[in-house]
């Protein structure tokens, strides 16, 4: 497999210039994610208004896969309802772990992460931000750990 299928331009771009990469004052939901194997660490912030994600952001440090995944995630769920975001979480989990059915193209830009499923050691990098968002939306207070 070509390395470029993993590190597509969009991944490299979101790693170098992550979107919504900022702490959020007055966030109503915050969750922390940590991957002890890699040392990837991030916090996801979300502001929920009328069941909708009015604002979402993240800070932290991690590899290109985890950073780009978090960045793309914030773009994808911004403005969505909590229920829609949870559906997307399930879809992404299936895509990244290779259990998805259907055309990944329907996930738009997020489909760029599809290559991760061929790198078992890297799957946790890509799912970390999604698990953390899920925890934030569920209001879980304990840090999320993937390893």
């Amino acid at each position: 497999m070509d390395l470029r299928e993993l590190y597509q331009d969009i991944i490299v771009d979101h790693n170098r210039n992550p979107r919504n990469f900022r702490p959020m004052a007055g966030a109503v939901r915050i969750a922390e994610g940590y991957n002890p194997l890699c040392g990837d660490k991030l916090s996801v912030y979300a502001k929920i208004e009328d069941g909708r994600i009015a604002d979402v952001s993240f800070v932290g440090s991690g590899c290109a896969i985890s950073t780009a995944s978090a960045s793309l995630m914030t773009e994808a769920v911004m403005g969505k309802t909590v229920a829609e975001a949870e559906v997307l979480f399930a879809d992404m989990h299936a895509l990244l772990t290779g259990t998805a059915s259907g055309d990944p193209a329907r996930l738009g830009k997020l489909a760029a992460l599809a290559g991760v499923k061929d790198y078992p050691a890297r799957v946790k990098c890509a799912t970390l931000s999604w698990h953390t968002l899920h925890a934030a939306l569920q209001g879980e207070l304990t840090p999320v750990v993937t390893e």
Binding site: L3, V12, G39, K41, Y119
Partner: protein, 419 residues
């Protein structure tokens, strides 16, 4: 004891010939020749080790110290022969001082639980350093929790060397045990263990040296070091996994209670009470890793056939070359710059996370380690979540270093690095 025959050392170190002894190296990864630079994690095994273990299972397999039948006698002779070999390799005074364990980690846990736990209490201190592997940190934390003793940590300098002045200050009458790595697995620093041991023992402390990264890179003489304990694993020394060695000074081992109970470690067993076997068997409960001990013996013979000093010189030259080549890559920063270092080179590259490097290099056939190297306090000290680490062994070449450098330049390009 069995004397090791003086090997007929070749005049020059023929790395191409050495490579032919390691069948695993002859393969392609993602279409590229395998360049194995993760030797500090585990080294590859020469044919001599593979064949010795295979031959053991084909011709001699039986339980040791049990049977009167021929196979049991063969197995026992091979197992005990490996112990003699280790004794000679470390220059221990007696074979009873060589305890077979699963690896360095188990050796340290054995000392923590059997030596430290019954003796230590509140007011006592265990001294370690900031550059230890988790396996030379956590067992001591556990025993501190069990006994009320305190764990003290000698700081390191920005170069990754033990702060000698601080060591002198932290070492005191309360220090009961000083535990230190011979060589840092994360930084490559070679610690002045003979000097540190002398100072610690003069202060009345027992000294344990974690030799996991020490034994593969230099000759170790436990009598010259004058330490109380020295631990190492076979698998970093071209031997199999699942076996390692705890060397202990005989009088110290004799005063320690057994750690694990079971077969082989007893003399008599009655429900009213049991009595313990002599050294070294007192610490070897249950059926040991016999084939692995045979493999370790074969690994030692292999290392002696090349000459540990020759291996060390080869690795030193390779490390110097790697430092020069890697140091010329823009944006590359070494983590750990000790003056005295082994063939372990840790680094970070601007804009490319070590885990991405690990994946990208693997695509070029180059195997390195990316992560915290089981030394999270070291990562905290340098303010990095992880590093990339290349580590060398007897079969690595300058061509391997060149392949690493080319792959790193490819990673920079992939991630849009400048320069």
């Amino acid at each position: 004891m069995t004397a090791i025959p003086t090997p007929n050392l070749p005049e020059t170190y023929d790395v191409a010939r050495v490579r032919r002894d390691f069948p695993i190296l002859d393969q392609r990864i993602h279409g590229q020749p395998l360049i194995y630079l993760d030797n500090a994690a585990t080294a590859q095994k020469p044919r001599a080790v593979l064949e010795a273990m295979d031959r053991y299972y084909r011709e001699a397999n039986a339980n040791v110290h049990r049977g009167v039948h021929t196979l049991s006698e063969r197995a026992t002779a091979l197992y005990e022969g490996a112990r003699d070999h280790v004794q000679a390799f470390l220059n221990a005074r007696a074979r009873e001082e060589i305890i077979f364990v699963r690896g360095t980690t188990e050796a340290i846990n054995l000392v923590a639980q059997s030596y430290a736990r019954p003796r230590l209490g509140p007011g006592d201190e265990i001294l370690i350093t900031h550059l230890e592997h988790h396996s030379n940190t956590v067992p001591w934390q556990m025993v501190c929790e069990q006994t009320g003793a305190a764990l003290k940590v000698v700081p390191i300098t920005p170069a990754g060397e033990i702060d000698h002045a601080a060591f002198g200050q932290l070492l005191g009458p309360r220090t009961r045990i000083f535990a230190v790595a011979h060589v840092s697995n994360a930084l490559g620093t070679v610690n002045p263990v003979a000097e540190l041991t002398a100072q610690a023992r003069a202060a009345g402390a027992m000294v344990l040296i974690d030799g996991a990264q020490g034994v593969p890179h230099q000759r170790v003489d436990v009598q010259a070091l004058d330490c109380d304990f020295y631990a190492f694993s076979a698998h970093k020394l071209y031997g199999p996994t699942g076996i390692g060695v705890l060397y202990g000074r005989r009088e110290v081992l004799e005063a320690m209670p057994p750690w694990q109970g079971g077969g082989d470690m007893i003399r008599t067993v009655h429900f009213a009470g049991s009595t313990w076997n002599d050294l070294p068997y007192k610490f070897e409960a249950g059926t040991p890793a016999i084939a692995e001990a045979v493999g370790l013996g074969a690994a030692l013979a292999y290392v002696e056939s090349l000459g540990i000093e020759r291996i060390a010189a080869h690795e030193a030259a390779l490390t110097a070359y790697a430092l020069e080549r890697l140091g010329a890559i823009p944006g590359l920063r070494f983590i750990g710059t000790a003056r005295d270092r082994a063939g372990v080179v840790s680094f970070v590259l601007d804009g490319v996370h070590p885990h991405d490097l690990g994946t990208i290099l693997d695509h070029a056939g180059v195997a390195i380690r990316a992560g915290h190297h089981c030394a999270m306090p070291v990562m905290d000290f340098y303010g990095v979540p992880a590093t990339a680490r290349a580590s060398f062994a007897c079969y690595n070449t300058r061509g391997d270093v060149d392949a690493l450098v080319t792959a790193l330049e490819g990673a920079r390009k992939l991630f849009g690095g400048r320069g």
